[in-house]
Subunit: 489 residues, 2 copies
Amino acid sequence: MIKTWTKPDRPNEESMKQRWDEKKKLLSAQQMKLKNHKLPVIVLMEGWGASGKGSTIRSIIDNLDPRFFKVTSMGKPTEEDQRRPFLYRYFQEIPENGQFTFFNSGWGSELVDKRVHGELSDEEYVKRIDSVKRFERQLTDNGYAVVKLFMQVSHKEQKARLDALEDNKDTRWRVSEKDRWQNKHYDQYMDVFNQYLIDTNVSVAPWHIIDAKNKKWAKLQVIEILCDAINTALQNEHIAVPISQNVFPLVPMPKLADVSFADAKMPQEEYKQKLDELQKKLSQLHYRLYRKKIPVIIAYEGWDAAGKGGNIKRIAAALDPRGYKVYPIASPEPHEKNRHFLWRFWTRLPKSGHIAIFDRTWYGRVMVERLEGFCSTNDWQRAYNEINEFEKELTDWGAIVIKFWVHIDKDTQLQRFTDRQNNPDKQWKITDEDWRNREKWDDYEVAIDEMIAKTSTAFAPWHILESVDKNYARIKALEIVIDEIEKRI
Amino acid sequence: MIKTWTKPDRPNEESMKQRWDEKKKLLSAQQMKLKNHKLPVIVLMEGWGASGKGSTIRSIIDNLDPRFFKVTSMGKPTEEDQRRPFLYRYFQEIPENGQFTFFNSGWGSELVDKRVHGELSDEEYVKRIDSVKRFERQLTDNGYAVVKLFMQVSHKEQKARLDALEDNKDTRWRVSEKDRWQNKHYDQYMDVFNQYLIDTNVSVAPWHIIDAKNKKWAKLQVIEILCDAINTALQNEHIAVPISQNVFPLVPMPKLADVSFADAKMPQEEYKQKLDELQKKLSQLHYRLYRKKIPVIIAYEGWDAAGKGGNIKRIAAALDPRGYKVYPIASPEPHEKNRHFLWRFWTRLPKSGHIAIFDRTWYGRVMVERLEGFCSTNDWQRAYNEINEFEKELTDWGAIVIKFWVHIDKDTQLQRFTDRQNNPDKQWKITDEDWRNREKWDDYEVAIDEMIAKTSTAFAPWHILESVDKNYARIKALEIVIDEIEKRI
């Protein structure tokens, strides 16, 4: 793209000044509209070292209300960053509804740098490109405006700028070794940048190449593109997003109605013995995971009173507390609700070598949010694919993803609810909401069948835990966890 | 303390077993009470390497509900940690109301390690001890139960354990160089531990030394202490906390009623010229701060419509967006409200070399929370000192703390409210709440006078910005920021 790019003609000074003033005013007004329409905007500023990324951002924000934007500059990933999926630190920084995030360099540069230095094989590069495309598409599908800019300067211009910075003792420190290296290997970098721009130039988030030689002209191009993009996004606000076709291999799963509890029983004696044996085994495996730095994500969903809590406890008891966390998931808090629905799960991902257990999960989107109307039909219909992509990201990163549906029948639930109601020690466990949910059992069953069918991917299939006999379900869970870990060690 | 400590007598096996079972049951029940009473518990587990800290925590939590606790293990501070006050990473991990955090080693070990390795001068050590004492006292004052345990093993016992771990190829990796070093320098470590325990042994959060030679006995001691501490905390729930006397030097400040606006004016021409000049200067200072790694915290409070937003904008416009963040502070979200009121500010502290601008601040506690009854009288009365201690922590860390009260008179506010109401572009800026707050102007004035008088410490005094003429206030703010930075560079 850069290689075949034609520089646009630069207008004269006066015309630039006039257009700039106009757009600054417009952007100020747009800012309020964004707030009212709850539209979030991501500006990804990529380009050559010393091409003026920072100063351009600065001139654009200088009369925006500082409460509505943040600028994020990321250097090389830290050791902590490297123990998480590479998109983790970017996902963390996405704005809330109605706000801007400016990325002063982002995932593009990170990928290109790695590629140039031979740290990414062809295969890994392709995988990362897929990840980036999914990430950007998920953002735009979820209502984010994503504006991608590439600041272009020539080899000569870059060198001149670096020299000028270095000649001044106050600015010398701003020239990094990386900048010099980049200038020295300009052509090589150019090829990789060029390929990256082509690979990630999609219609929902296209690249804009900015002629960055003249600073005023560069700023003007950027603000004009930004204003246009915001206008378009405001106009498209209520357009339904096409539902992507599933591209992941699926594993066939039974319908809930066909799950039998007949043989899913375990006598107390056998249970105790197995529990002890399996917990010892899992405990040892946990140390090995830790040393091999393999991350594990265990997701629990299930009917109310199915026995999720007790099941989780039996897994957790076998683990070293330094190496796992349990995340109980309730309805999202405001700052969570105001972002991509997966944000609160991305930000809770474990470090490599650690285990995260989710007590309820991202599948809330296609169960409670679907049935209670907390999101639009388009939202939950899109979510199957978004979730599969999320779990693909996790397994590509190297994680073991284990998903449990803790299952009981309707009669068992009634019996347990009644027990809880009648037992003063257990009354806290039962609420009116549980009874209300119970009334919707049939609707839930339809939603759950659809969910299990559409998200049992080969890399992250569902496991059904028959939990009328809780002993049986606990042992089955332990066996599955052990099995999945052993496959990988 | 350890040096003069007498080992308690160990009960026989049978009696230990019986007491253990009893306490496990009790703790399970207490857990629900903690939840209902919204009482948070911090368990700080310190002690020698290989003394069994981790395995003790593990046996205690193994039938707690994993939704109600987390275990936090921290190694050496990372590079990121080192760019923040040393208590930052611990403050981040404090539990929500009704939950436990177990610290598997904490601030005590960090301090002792540094001290043993000569990385803390006497003076710094004393400062840190003060910080720790304030931290722990603030926690208990704010309703946290803080249980501090020290796991004691002899030099010989530690050596035997390390040898045993090392003899087994599966556990060899668990013996760190630090453990070996500690064992080799046991006496030296003993002295420093001992001094630390004495220095931080306060009545609200006393140390408990655990005889950790026999593992069962160690666990029993720990759980008994924990159960007792929870009982006490539940009983003391509604006891008012004594209000500490102020110990920090205060700067005399005028009452708001005595602030005159007569000379606080600046013609547009002079304003434009000064603004330009001062912003250039601040811009350069920002780079120098960045390079010298000095953190800056700018706190804005003021009357509604006083012009905080515009004032902040003029500061922010001079800064490099990579090096600052503006935090608009609204009412706390649930996960924030369920923790120490300063938690959401601790977690937003800038890295060294960066600037954080708070648009409304922790002073909400002694203004809106006081006047609207969002906290108890005891809470807000205690807060003056808690805030002074917080700011002391920040300045001790090396931060420049600048606090602005953006001031107008009542008539000016009325005029601006009316303007906003009548101007369609500005209507979003005015809400019913603003009018309601205005009715309480006199109550607010009393609260603000008290706040300014009690929290204008020598290390973080208030600056009043006369903002009837906004130009004047903006220039004054810029001058103060520049001045405070220049004093430090």
